[in-house]
Amino acid sequence: MSFLSISGVTKRFGGVVANRDVSFEVAPGELVGVIGPNGAGKSTLFEIITGFYRPDEGEVRLEGTRLTGLSPDRVCRLGVARTFQKLRPFPAMTVLENVMVGALTRTRDVRHAREHAREILERVGLGDKAHAHGRTLSTGQRKRLELARALATRPRLLLLDEVTGGVDQGSIPGLVRLVRELHRDGLTVLVIEHNMRVITAVAQRIVALYLGEVIADGPPDVVARERRVVEAYLGQAYAQ
């Protein structure tokens, strides 16, 4: 049985079709990249998986459990965590407290949550920033904070929306390494990424979306050479 299954998902906003009959599956322990130009429907798909949007048709299942129709907090408690494209740390809280909010989803004990949050901060390399405020962090550090918060909910499936987007070149390798480590430790990861070099280096498989539809699904080197993908990214002139 597949771990995550997305079947026939369609989402319309008025006359715009953001996702059209999107179907693919993710095996346990897989690291799958989702690519596509702006407006391809990548983020909409994430919102649908995590329960923020309800699809007009189709459904999402995690190990057979239907996620579609559940509220985002329920989806999280079933083991799906996400990061946001637009970073949103809780501004009035310290880095540690930010992560504690995630940890408190899995424990009733504030002290446990604090310890767990500390461990996770160490793991993502923010151990020395525990008492800083979210707004004082650099973009790269904020990405790590988002990641830490999501990890604190002890997910089985992690959805990453643009891990390296807006981050300075120097911080990218560290973030990529971190995602690789999480994957190696057994986490199933679905990642949206604009940076083709990053995604082909990290993902075992790539799903390409264009105008809401899946136009390619396969190993990175194959998808990257796929005619329709090149067309979608660069226009028809380059596809020859």
């Binding site: 509220s71 907090d73 809780f90 809280m93 407290e97 989803t105 504030v110």
Partner: protein
Amino acid sequence: MARGVPAAVFFGLAALGPLVVRDAFLLDGLILILLWGATASAWNVAGGYAGQVSLGHAAFFGLGAYSAALLGTRWSLSPWIGLLVGVLLSTVAGLIIGYLSNRLRGPYFVLATIAFSQVLLIVASRWRGFTAGSEGIPVPFRPGFWTLGIADKRGWVYLVLALGVLLYLVQQYLERSRRGYQLAAVREDEDAALSLGVAARRLKVVAIAASAALTAVCGALWAQYVGFVDPFYVFSVDLSVRFALAAIIGGLGTALGPFLGSVLITTLETYLRAQFGGVGAGLIGIYLIIYGCALVLVVRFVPQGLVGWLGDRLRRHGLAGTAP
């Protein structure tokens, strides 16, 4: 300086008050400071901690006051029973308002809360047969603790002090507990909180209902203390604004803030009433102007409230630690 020290000092001084002061006017001021501080704290649970700013909390205060007064006059029931009934009614009303908070955001939610308190005002002032209408109802004085007929002002000081400490502890819980962290997350960014598994909607509704229930407790005790319930006072927007103002001036989402705000606002109002109360209609509304100015000054110069400002001061003078 440890976390609870400023609060211990504040409540300790209040407890010493009746031992030192005999003057009825001053004791009355102390009682009102504690009572309004407790009410502002109850408001703070929704407005400060949950970030759901209401300008209709007089509705819950009035429900508490009327429940205690009506059950006492119509059926000679103990005000404690009236208090419980007021709490139940306010909890139900709070659940409804809480449900609205998930539909309406920002100004629309504020307007809905105002409308709600105005509806209750109309009901209370028009339903002559039951509430005695716009004349208001006197609350019978029957001596004894069970009937809350406490003649000695010192007794009242300790009663409202207990109420104040209770409200302070409730707020402390909201700062340190699991629910408190989750509520803060909802206040800061609801979507992010949801994505981390926080049941945001339910949590907001519970916070607003709890805030409503606590406000009703304050209303019921106030009715017994003052001895008269006037619909145009207990359901007024003025009163709602005062709860919010005390909390904002003292420090939104801080446990001691509403009490410090109440010290300022209650003394100011008592002073102004003594100064201008009898002079004629022209100056009676002056407190509104002064409230307005106070709010502007606080928001402009100490947006974190008196608690934040005092905390900074103490730290600067080498007393390490965090604000209460």
